[in-house]
């Protein structure tokens, strides 16, 4: 009887290990960096616009999007604005106050990369669902006048966010895949981001 109980417990434990690989949530003082590939599918265009590069997330502060191909550009998303620079020259600065829809998208990216799924689950009104080795979450805005720059966002998650598909009106969509993600103290992330930026210039 004891043996059966132990076996059942062990199986349960093993099962929970195999099934319970919950997405990682960044700890306080921790950031994330890694690589990305973005494919922009634009309706009627010959092929998707592909870009690759590195990202550096310092939660609550900023997300640095360092595009390397097809050419070097750096986009910094903080809680106030989206700033873009080519080399040392700033070419765009958009205030998020003016485009609250962008702020929603920015927050969604930061929360998903940070593993702050609880907040996104609340926003989506549904829980993470498991499909095979991955977790998924679909974020669809409520019906009514949509001031958001997307009609749906689908997150695919392993240990970290692995891919996000942003579906827009008129059939446009962005598919961003993330890989080589690593956590590190935020100070280190900042150093890495700066170093990458210097190298790009």
């Amino acid at each position: 009887m004891r043996v059966i109980f132990a076996v059942v417990m062990l199986m349960g434990l093993m099962g929970s290990v195999a099934y319970g690989a919950e997405p990682t949530k960044l700890a306080a003082g921790e950031g994330l960096h890694g690589r990305f590939q973005q494919l922009r599918y634009l309706t009627g265009f010959d092929a998707p616009i592909r870009s690759t590069g590195s990202f550096f997330l310092i939660p609550g502060i900023e997300l640095v999007w360092q595009t390397e191909t097809p050419f070097g550009t750096r986009t910094v998303l903080d809680d106030k604005s989206v700033t873009q620079a080519i080399g040392k020259q700033e070419v765009t600065k958009v205030s998020l106050d003016r485009f609250p829809g962008l702020a929603v998208l920015r927050d969604a990216l930061e929360d998903s990369l940070s593993g702050n799924w609880k907040k996104l689950e609340e926003l989506a009104g549904s829980k993470l669902r498991r499909e095979g080795e991955q977790w998924h979450l679909n974020l669809t805005p409520d019906a009514g006048p949509n001031t958001l720059p997307f009609t749906a966002v689908e997150f695919s998650i392993g240990e970290f966010l692995e891919a996000v598909e942003i579906v827009k009106e008129k059939g446009d969509r962005d598919v961003i895949t993330f890989f080589e993600q690593q956590t590190a103290p935020t100070a280190e992330i900042r150093q890495l981001a700066n170093k990458k930026n210097e190298m790009a210039q």
Binding site: Q38, R40, L42, T43, G44, F45, D46, A47, P48, I49, S51, W65, T67, P70, F71, T73, T75, L77, V82, Q84, I86, Q89, V91, T92, V94, S95, D97, R98, F99, P100, G101, L102, L105, R106, L109, P145, T147, P149, K168, E169, K170, G171, D172, D174, I176
Partner: protein
């Protein structure tokens, strides 16, 4: 003579009542807009017309922010507020002020003309041949993880020139975002929804102010009852104006109440009878009736402030009554007719001097002064007739048996000026006054700045700052009017001027501006832009389109089709643009550039002075300039009035003696501002205005001194004393007011009247026995 005088009085009163009745058939023709008191603008006609058209289009805005943590609550409450104010006919909403659909429609309208629409920065880049940077910027924006450029936009504008053009204009706009058809801002967990509208009436019109305030308060209370913890902030000239009026009214009522009680007590204490008080009221009522009728006859309506100031001047009628009743302080019984006769010469000279002075004042092209002068001159004449010809008919009183002590005390001042034993002290007083006057004269400072002269309520200022902080809406403080022969001509002028305005912004002399040419460039500028895009981008465009996976010809069309201001006439109207289109008739088009954060208006003045087709308008500065001009003009007219009175008095007293009669009034008028300067008080238009009263009353004091001889002297001195006390009670107490205009009026009269009373015995002629009757 007595019967004739009474008949004239009766006929005049009858005529006055008929005029008033006729004018009152359509209600009390009272003008409450303070700006109506000001003279017509001396600006060029095109500026006047443009300003009038701008005002008529609802330049005066009311701004309200409704805040609540729940957007839906703030949204609903704001819509209710807006609807209530519209239904109360306080505001009207022109176009789509929410700008949500308005801005989207504007974008859609302008998009076909995108090749000619470049931001200043892009224009500069292209002008220096930096086209590659624009392709890289477009690519960077398209590759952004939060890009909002969709396939349609990229296909038609792969360089994203149009969104960057619009973005540059948005950069100067407020922090508000469009949400569910309203403009709102999210701040610290609270949503604030904006309610704005153009006022349907004038913000300085007392009646409209009261209506607006009632409607606002009523709706605010209703919304608070319904939603509880709702926050409401408001701003607009109408609230400041209403608060200022309310404060002035409250103070005037309080101070007026105290002075009224004081005057009643003074009458009862001195005369031990209410009869003088009742007679005084009759004289004042006659004066107001006459003043009202004549003013309505000439002007059609009466300004509230003319009524208040005019009624104050007619208050001199109380002095006439004092002189009449002081004649009852006699040991022997005298008939009422003899009392009137005794004061007739003094009264007549006083009246003629005052009327001449007021009529001189009415020659100024200042409607406010004209009304006050006409009201006072005609009213005083009626009061004079009443005292001289009605009082004796209804006066059944006998001589007062008391009053010996008062009469004796009233002569102290006279003795001081004329008895030999006081000579050293007298000279000391004279020298002291001259020294004080001399010192004060060097310290006189003039201040006509209407912003410093008004004490803005702290509560309203805080609300305005809150609104400014939350929305980024900066008050327009100045505007530039630009004239041309066509809209396109004006746009070209604007573009040249904006180059200079941008420099002023960089040099921090100016906060920002809004101009039509920012959104709709001139035809020449659009064609130039188009040519720049074609020429500079051609080498880069193909490669850029290929990198985007885009095939086909260039989407930047080369044509002469440009967007014009007229495109936005009628149905295509866009609120923010309409506001900047001031005035248009065939051959003359005027636009305005709205300026905010002006830190150095001299720089702007220097800028607009270069062309007669450009004018800088600032209501506060304009009003200040007007105050300055009329402060000076009223002083000049006062000097002329003294000249006219001198000629008149010379007929009776001779050239030299008449100067002596004028010394008390003249001394008070000159010394009062000097003494005020020693206390650090600036000399303003309001001080100059109050010197008119000092002029008239000061002359009366002197004339009664001059005309009263022998034993009558003490009665005249007593009447002068009572007059001085009542004037100080009626006007001097106004110096306690916190409203600068009222304070300045009161303090000048307080000092002026004291000086005029103290100096009045100088006018006496000690050799004179009994003056000739007039």
């Amino acid at each position: 003579m007595r019967k004739t005088g009474f008949l004239i009085y009766l006929l005049a009163m009858l005529f006055a009542i008929v005029v008033i009745t006729v004018r009152f058939t359509d209600g009390f023709p009272l003008e409450t807009n303070i700006l109506a008191l000001l003279p017509e603008s001396e600006e060029a006609e095109w500026i006047q017309r443009a300003e009038a058209a701008h005002q008529a289009r609802g330049a005066d805005q009311l701004v309200i922010l409704v805040g609540h943590p729940d957007f839906e609550v703030a949204h609903d409450a704001s819509l209710k507020f807006k609807k209530a104010l519209e239904l109360s006919d306080i505001i009207e909403i022109k176009g789509d002020t929410a700008a949500a659909s308005g801005f989207a429609a504007l974008s859609k309208t302008l998009f076909p003309f995108r090749t000619g629409l470049l931001s200043d920065l892009d224009r500069q880049r292209l002008a220096r041949g930096d086209g590659k940077q624009l392709t890289e910027r477009a690519l960077a924006q398209i590759l952004s993880p939060v890009s909002i450029a969709d396939a349609d936009l990229i296909r038609d504008d792969p360089l994203l020139l149009f969104p960057n053009f619009l973005g540059a204009q948005l950069g100067a706009s407020p922090l508000l975002q469009s949400k569910d058809g309203v403009l709102a801002v999210d701040d610290a967990g609270k949503w604030y929804v904006l309610v704005t509208g153009s006022l349907t009436g004038a913000p300085f019109d007392r009646t409209f102010q009261a209506q607006a305030r009632n409607a606002f308060d009523k709706e605010e209370a209703a919304l608070r009852a319904q939603y509880g913890d709702i926050e409401i902030f408001k701003t607009g000239a109408i609230f400041y104006g209403e608060e200022a009026y309310r404060q002035a009214e409250n103070e005037a009522s309080f101070i007026g109440g105290i002075s009224l009680i004081g005057i009643i007590l003074l009458n009862i204490f001195v005369f031990r009878s209410v009869q003088p008080l009742l007679f005084s009221l009759l004289a004042i009522a006659s004066g107001i009736t006459g003043g009202l009728a004549v003013t309505l006859l000439f002007f059609g309506k009466l300004h509230l402030l003319a009524l208040v100031f005019g009624a104050g001047l007619i208050g001199i009628a109380v002095d006439y009554a004092f002189h009449y009743f002081c004649e009852r302080f006699q040991p022997k019984e005298t008939p009422p007719a003899a009392r009137a006769k005794a004061i007739r010469s003094g009264l007549t000279l006083g009246l003629v001097s005052s009327v001449l002075g007021f009529l001189t004042l009415s020659l100024t092209p200042f409607p406010g002064l004209q009304q006050i002068a006409l009201f006072s001159a005609s009213g005083l004449t009626l009061a004079y007739l009443c005292v001289l010809f009605v009082f004796p008919l209804i006066d059944r009183g006998k001589s007062f048996s008391h009053g010996e002590a008062a009469l004796t005390r009233s002569m102290l001042l006279y003795r001081f000026w004329w008895q030999g034993k006081f000579k050293p002290v007298r000279w000391l007083v004279i020298v002291s006054l001259l020294v004080v006057g001399g010192f004060g004269a060097f310290r006189i400072t003039v201040d006509d700045d209407v912003r410093r002269l008004q004490s803005l309520p702290a509560g309203l200022q805080t609300e305005e700052q809150t609104i400014r902080g939350l929305t980024g809406i900066d008050n327009e403080t100045h505007r530039i009017l630009i004239r041309g022969t066509s809209s396109d001509d004006v746009l070209e002028h604007e573009e040249t001027l904006r180059f200079e305005l941008d420099r002023l912004i960089r040099e921090e002399h100016l906060g920002g501006y809004q101009a039509i040419s920012e959104i709709i460039p001139s035809k020449a500028r659009q064609l130039e832009n188009r040519e720049l895009v074609q020429r500079q981008m051609a080498p880069h465009l193909d490669g850029h389109m290929k990198s985007l996976g885009l095939s086909g010809p260039s989407p930047y069309v080369d044509s002469n089709d440009v967007v014009s201001v007229e495109y936005f006439d009628g149905e295509n109207g866009f609120g923010p643009l309409d506001r900047l289109r001031a005035y248009s008739v065939p051959g003359v088009v005027v636009h305005l550039i709205s300026l905010s954060g002006v830190r150095d208006s001299d720089k702007l003045t220097a800028l607009v002075d270069r062309s007669e087709n450009i004018a800088l308008v600032n209501q506060a500065e304009g009003l200040s300039d007007t105050f300055g001009v009329y402060r000076l003009r009223s002083l000049v007219m006062l000097a002329i009035a003294y000249g006219v009175v001198w000629v008149f008095l010379s007929l009776r007293y001779g050239l030299i003696s008449s100067i002596r009669v004028m010394i008390p009034s003249l001394g008070a008028v000159i010394l009062a501002p000097c003494i005020l300067a020693l206390f650090g008080q600036p000399f303003t238009f309001f001080n100059a205005m109050s010197l008119m009263l000092v002029f008239a009353i000061g002359l009366d004091y002197a004339l009664f001194n001059r005309e009263a001889a022998g034993e009558r002297k003490s009665r005249a001195m007593l009447a002068n004393g009572l007059s001085a006390i009542s004037t100080i009670l009626a006007f001097g107490l106004l110096s306690l007011s916190e409203t600068f205009a009222i304070h300045a009026f009161g303090i000048t009269i307080l000092i002026g009247i004291v000086l005029a009373y103290v100096l009045a015995p100088i006018a006496a002629d000690i050799n004179q026995k009994t003056p000739e009757a007039l």
